[in-house]
Amino acid sequence: MLNPYEKYPVTIRSVTNETEDKNLKTFELTFLSSEDAGAFTFLPGQFAMLWVPGFGEIPLGIASSPTETNKLLFSVNKIGKVTRRLHQLDPGAILGVRGPFGNGFPWETLKGKHIAIIGGGYAFTTLRASIVYLLDEANRNDFGDLWVLYGAKTAGMLMYRNEIDAWAARDDLEMHISVDRQDTPAWRHHVGLIPTIVTAHLPPADEDAAVILCGPPVMIKFTLQALHEKGYGADQVYLSLENRMKCGIGFCGRCSVGKDCVCKDGPVFSSAEVNLMPNDF
């Protein structure tokens, strides 16, 4: 019997500060064994359990795309015991990775569709993976139009700055960037909350459209309303739920919502599925 609690040893290749408050860092990891690297095949939307030896394991959305060879990225917010320790570590430190886990975004269903990707705040990790995946020349033609909206509180809180600026310059996707509050005079993009931008700029829905939406709960609530007004059905919108996890593989019972476990039946669910879930997640 395989042991899904086994960890692939990894080392930190680089650490990048993403936000001006330095609470969000992106860790680039390398597998110590190339065999492990080869075994770790995933799809955007899936997560992994990152192990900090002696401190614990946490679930993290995989921020790199499977199309980026030899690159494993996690963007981590410093919020608890394990992440505080992680933020203290330097390149060369040894960690462990288990995964990939979860269902990921429904790429087979999304084929041929126009996709709108909407993300807010720290929830842009698996969305970055999705955008890189979609823009890869091996995949781009399998999907329709790509419309992206990424918003943060201020310009200094946006992640992946170089990349989002590069995407804004491309013509094979429509990129919108927004801040809730403008604090830099030279800001060239939108100012406004995400639902407002969605109402003003997202094309109305048709049956070949789908939305991937990730962000803080308040943003999700109001963006779902804005999407509803644009004609998007609850089965056309995909969310990624978060819950406290320990095993990540559906055994420890901690992340359960109703009959589902966020780790093994999710974390991606359609808005229609979420509406049927009991109200305790």
Binding site: P216, P217, V218, I220, K221, F222, H228, E229, N279
Partner: protein, 156 residues
């Protein structure tokens, strides 16, 4: 955690809409020369303020299920998002015809009709136990406003 709206959200938005309306009519009244039109605009502003008060009263009668939400909102941003949702209803920012009393009243009726459309849409988003039927009371109020304004138009 429910992403759904409750009656309290919608009443909060209704209060904000009336506030926006009152402020719009007051600003319009300042810029107009015609005495009768100005009086009318100020009267409409007062009506909007009265509506805001009555929505506040109705809101205070909501029960637990119609006003509590377990949505995780540590920084209390719900109000900002509610206001943004209301402020994007552009009918109060439209340039309305204020050349005659009849035009002003007709524009006011259009505004009330637009707000009813909005509330009907919001009603779909509120589940039964979160106070869906309370939204009807808001819509009823707005229809009463339309009746009053239409009567005014008929008298001109």
């Amino acid at each position: 955690m429910s992403y759904q709206f409750n009656a309290d959200d919608v009443f909060s938005m209704a209060e904000q809409m009336e506030k926006n309306g009152a402020s719009f009519y007051e600003t319009a009244a300042e810029g107009i020369a015609d005495g009768r039109c100005r009086k009318l605009l100020l009267r409409l502003a007062a009506m909007e303020a009265e509506h805001e008060r009555s929505f506040k009263d109705m809101r205070s009668e909501l029960n637990q299920k119609e006003k509590t939400s377990n949505l995780y909102d540590p920084e209390g941003e719900s109000m900002r998002y509610l206001r943004a949702l209301v402020n994007v209803r552009v009918f109060f920012e439209k340039k309305i015809e204020i050349s005659s009393r009849e035009e002003i009243l007709k524009a006011a009726v259009t505004a009330e009709k637009d707000s009813i459309v909005f509330y009907l849409g919001m009603k779909e988003m509120v589940p039964e136990k979160a106070g869906k039927s309370r939204i009807d009371a808001i819509i009823q109020e707005e229809m009463d406003h339309i009746r009053l304004l239409s009567e005014e138009i008929a008298l001109i």
